[in-house]
Each structure stands twice: as structure tokens, then as C-alpha cells.
Symmetry: C2
Subunit: 396 residues, 2 copies
Amino acid sequence: MLNFQYHNPTRYVYGPGEHHRIGALLKPFASKVLLHYGGGSVKRTGLYNAVVASLEAAGIDFIELSGVKPNPSLSLVRKGIDLCRREQVDLVLAVGGGSVIDSAKGIALGVHAPIDVWQYYTDCIDDIRHDVLPVATILTLPAAGSENSPNTVLTDEEHELKLGYGHSKLRPLLSIVNPELFLTLPPNQMANGASDMLCHIFERYFTNTGDTQLSDALSEATMRTIMQQALVLAANPTDLNAWGQLGLSGTIAHNDLLGIGREQSWACHMLEHELSAVYDVPHGAGLAVIVPPYMEATWPHNPGIFYQWATNVMGVTPSRNTEAVIREGIARLRSWYRAIGLPQTMQELGIPADANFTRMAESACQRSGGPGNTLLGIYPFNAREAEAILRAAVAP
Amino acid sequence: MLNFQYHNPTRYVYGPGEHHRIGALLKPFASKVLLHYGGGSVKRTGLYNAVVASLEAAGIDFIELSGVKPNPSLSLVRKGIDLCRREQVDLVLAVGGGSVIDSAKGIALGVHAPIDVWQYYTDCIDDIRHDVLPVATILTLPAAGSENSPNTVLTDEEHELKLGYGHSKLRPLLSIVNPELFLTLPPNQMANGASDMLCHIFERYFTNTGDTQLSDALSEATMRTIMQQALVLAANPTDLNAWGQLGLSGTIAHNDLLGIGREQSWACHMLEHELSAVYDVPHGAGLAVIVPPYMEATWPHNPGIFYQWATNVMGVTPSRNTEAVIREGIARLRSWYRAIGLPQTMQELGIPADANFTRMAESACQRSGGPGNTLLGIYPFNAREAEAILRAAVAP
């Protein structure tokens, strides 16, 4: 295991009804809030009215910026920064899923920044010397884990560039997770979310770091819970407890508790970001297509951790035939993706066979941070090998 | 599952060598520190010198208070409070195990308090309106989990009264966990520590709250890890990785991540506090004696959670004979206590058969907080039933 520091000061508030307390909870920290959200769904469900009522009851002034879309855009973030500067906002309240929260983090980062906000993403700037506005969240879609993570992902639509950025100052001050707000989500959003959560654990679990017994066991526990609860929800989309368990799991999957003392990979995320930057596919669906061929290419380079996963998470019976156990584990993962309604090919994802996989693989390798332009992870795949992983999903 | 808030802002620093950074890590938060520790062991191991060198290098002024003993005393805490007031200390640095850290929390709580510090413990005062000094810790014994918990336990020797108190303001600012510092611990301290950790999870896991799939799974993962790593250390007391895994597990066992959204019990801790207040037995050894008879009395009131534990943690093969599975689980737990060298009877603990178990049971029930002077937990045992649990450990 590696030395590590873990610092997660987000105040996490869980349970039915808790969003009605947002005003009282924010009162000690904010006098003027940017209320940031996506489209009409928060208004249709009554959430918007409840939040506004709570802010007003607490005497908190607010302005609004809506219009966040999946794969949130740099242009809206820049607009939010201008707005917050002009209106002297002191906290950004994100009401939505990971896209809205990631957008809110971009805005919070940029308001007092001495340089353009995109430079933090392109140059991975470690040293933030200016104040970052606090971000609070009311989660409406469990998936990205952004409600408790230091991470944000934005897309520069103009240049078809989707980039992640992480800094401890971006952990939200406060997040409210109320599973009642998930009850109206369509099945594909549940499935995309569960896929994303699961992959957040894969990116930490499948590495070469040894001596990680506790975080292995915690990761396996969370993976099993995600897979079980997603199946419950696929059968019954209004199971409040299953939504609650999935919501909590999504937070644990990405607040980096499961990454303590380990190398991390993020290879599948790097590849998927290339897909969704060009084709605007749902992130979780893109991951479902990329993960199995990535595993098939990767397991021979560290069969031990894949065998452990296949037996402890996928329930494959132990056997001396390591390869058969691992292949059965991956086959069961494919079945699980199918069972919750996720695609398994580029075609089903709406990506044509003649897409520019060469360029995508090159770009992913360039950004991933492995030695000499390779994918970071168990094995440093080069661009040619990464392209083969993408092409394996064209007609697997 | 119940609604909950979770807020754990402790900065957790893990790994070999990290204690040399204590000065630099504290510099932003402190100008004058109370260095609080036990006896000679921190001097013999060189830890004391390393800490002093690091504080001096960072230009942090400090005074000292040593002499903390197991079951830390109220009288030393009162002495520390006087000292901090006189010397205008702004942070308490605990170098030691749970006793030293609990003592440091008592001091930190009392320095600016408008009332005597013991009143917070006796009256369970929720509302702290004064400043509490920040506490930093360098852990030398993984057991109590105090390095990341909001809890403290003190003993009023004069009145044979051992009381716990918890408040979010008592979570340490910063904790350093370096498994190298555990390498010189004697085997009985490892065993006592592992027993305490395991019981911290039992007190949260064995309750009547339903719909807790994620925290059940995380709890089971941590229990298995504690039991496995303690056996590794019983065989090889200088296995650095096993110490690291046990140290991390001890933190997770009691930082309340595993208690989110659940009722909690603390019945075994209440009973054990009575034993150690009178007979000064090691806390973990006392728990090892009390837990099995407590389980034997409790399981018929909620066989489901005990069956789940027996199969998922103790590795008992599932069967329709629920009772046999549970009894086998408890038998395996007794074997584990034995395997790491812990007692299973009052006699082995040095407590005579004619001890005043009646008074102890009455006192535990009075303090436990169950309805009508009963033990809080799966079943509200009254004083007569609690006494029977204690007596079952006399000659089981």
C-alpha cells in the first residue's frame, strides 16, 4: 500500500425530506447563492419550488442559472462565472446530477481565479491560491459521485474536448442525498448511473498496488451492493430503499475512500471521454461498452486481482483454471449490463464502425498520463493497443 | 434505514515516516502546543525525540503533560486544562493510543468551557457553545478509533465511574497513522485492540434497523479484515502490512461510517465500562469476555442479523437450521478470541466470582439509555437480565 492523505470535509445529509432544510443548512455559510440547475425536470417535480421556499424562509438571497446539459459545457460555466462576479454571489447551489454539480464546481473555481477557468483543466494546475466559492448540492441523479468528490468534468464543445480536473478545494461544503428525488428517474438513467459508479471503483480496484486488503474488501462490498440494487431497480424503479442504497454507493464509489493508498487507473474513463466528447453518448452507457474489452485486454497482465474480483464480486466458483474464472466473471459483468438495459457494442451506442477510433485512442493515451503516451493502469497500453480495445467493441 | 448527517473533517495521514511531518502539518493551525503522552515507551522508541525535532523545526512552541494511563483519569484531564489555560496553549497534540487521545479530547473540551469538564460526560451535554481546542494525534496503538472519532471516555477514579462522551467538535483536526509505530507493541495489546475494533462494529451492526445493505456489506468487509489481520499478527507480530491494515480497520470501525442511518447499541461497551471502572481490566479483554454471552442472550430476538453475520463474516455454511448456524458463528468468534490470546471468562480476566455483578448490571442499565433503565440494543435487557449475561461469563 502507498502512503496517503485523506480529507473529506463535506457535510453529508441523507434521507427523505432533507432537501426542505437546505435554507437552514446554508444560512451560516451564504448570504447570496447562485441556484444552478438543468432544465424543466426540477420544476416539474416541485423540487425547484421547495428549494426556493426553503432559501426564502432562511432569508438567503439568490439568482439563477439553468440550462446545464449532460456533458456540461465550458461556455455555460464561463457565463456562470461572469454572473457570480457581477452579482457578488458567495456560494453555488447545484440542484441536479453530476453534470450540474460539475458545472457548479467549474463556476465556483473560476469566480475569483486570476486566469481563465479552462486552464485549470487543460494544465492540471495543482496549486490554487485564490478563494474557491463553496458548493452545496441537492442530488437528483446518483451516478457521478460529484456530490462528495473533489472532481469535475467539463466539455469544450468547440474543440470536442472533454477534460476532468480534481482539487481538494472542490469537495462540496454540503450535499443532500434524498432518495425520494430519484423515484421519477427513467430506467436508462438508473442504469447509466450504476455503470458509472461501478467503473469508479474499477478504476481504483484494478491496479498493481499490493497489500490493500481493507480497501479491496470495502470495494468488493460496494461493487456487490451497486450490482444488486441496480437489479432491484431494474425490476422495480420505485423501490425507495434500493434508490437509497444506490445513492450511498455512488457516493462511496467516488469520494476516494476506496482509493486510499492505491495507484489509480482511469483508463476506461479516458477512453469514454473521447467517445462522449464527439458523439455525446451517455457516460455510463459508453463505459458499459468499453469496460469488458478493456478487461479482456488487461487481465493477462495481472490475473490475481481479476481472479479475486471474479470470485468475490461476481460470485464465480473458485477453480484452478484462473483464466476460466476470470472470463466467467467478465461474462457475468456483460450479462449484468444487459440485464439493466445497457448497450454492449458501439453500434448500439450509435457510434458508426467508421468512427475515428485512431484519433480517439491517440488522444486518450496522450491525456491519460501513463509513461510515454500510454494509458495509465495495470498495463500501459499504447495508442495502437487502445485503438484495438475500442475496435473490439465495434463487433465483439 | 434512518436519515442521517455525516461530517468527518479529520485530515487523515497514513504511512511509514509520516510522523516526521507533524510540525509542518500543524504549523498553519498552532503556535503553542500541549504535547500529551503516556509513559516512557514513546521516549524509548525514539518517537518523542522525532516529534520534538519536527515541532522545533517548524518553530512551534510546546509544553508537556505525560502520565496518561489506560482508562485515562479525570484528574489528569483537569490538570491539563489548568496547564493549557495558564500557558495559553492553542492545540493539544496526543502522542499515544486511545487513552492518550481521549484524555487530550477531555483537555481540549475543558480549556475554554464555562463549567467543569466532567459535567459534559455526566449530563451528555449536546450544545457546546464555547471554542474547543483542536486535537491532533500520532497514533501508537490501533484500537479505540479515537484518532478519527468524535468520542472520548474518561474515568473518575474517586467514584469508580467510567463515562463516554461524544460531540462532533471532538473529531481530531489531523491524525497520523504510521504502522511502523505499532511494530514494538506486545501481543496482548494487538489482541485487545482488535477486540475493541470488532466490538465497535458489533455495536452498530447488531441492531434492529432494516434496509441497511451498503453499511452491512461495508461492516462485514471490515470485520473480516480485522479478524484476518489479527491472526496474521498473532503469528508474526512484526508484519508491517498487517499492522497497516489493522490500523486502518480500527479507524473505519469507529469513525461512524459504518453506523450511518442505523440505530446503535453500545450495550457491551456499557457492561465492559462497569468492569474496567472497578477492576481496571484492559477494555478489549473485557469485551472479549462479555460479547459471546451477550450474543447468546440476544440472537433469539433478531436471528436474521445474526444469521447474516455468521454466514458473511464467520464463514459458516448457510443452512435451514438458523440456530445451528448462529451458534457456530458465536463458537468461531470464541475460537478467534482464544487464537489471538484473549480471555473468555471473568476468572481469566482477574475478576472474582463474588464481584458485585448486581451493582454493575444496574449501573450499566441506568447509563445505557434503553427504555426504562434497560440496555439499549436489539433487546432491552433489564438489570436482572444484564446481570445474568455477566454471570454467564463467570463459568460459561
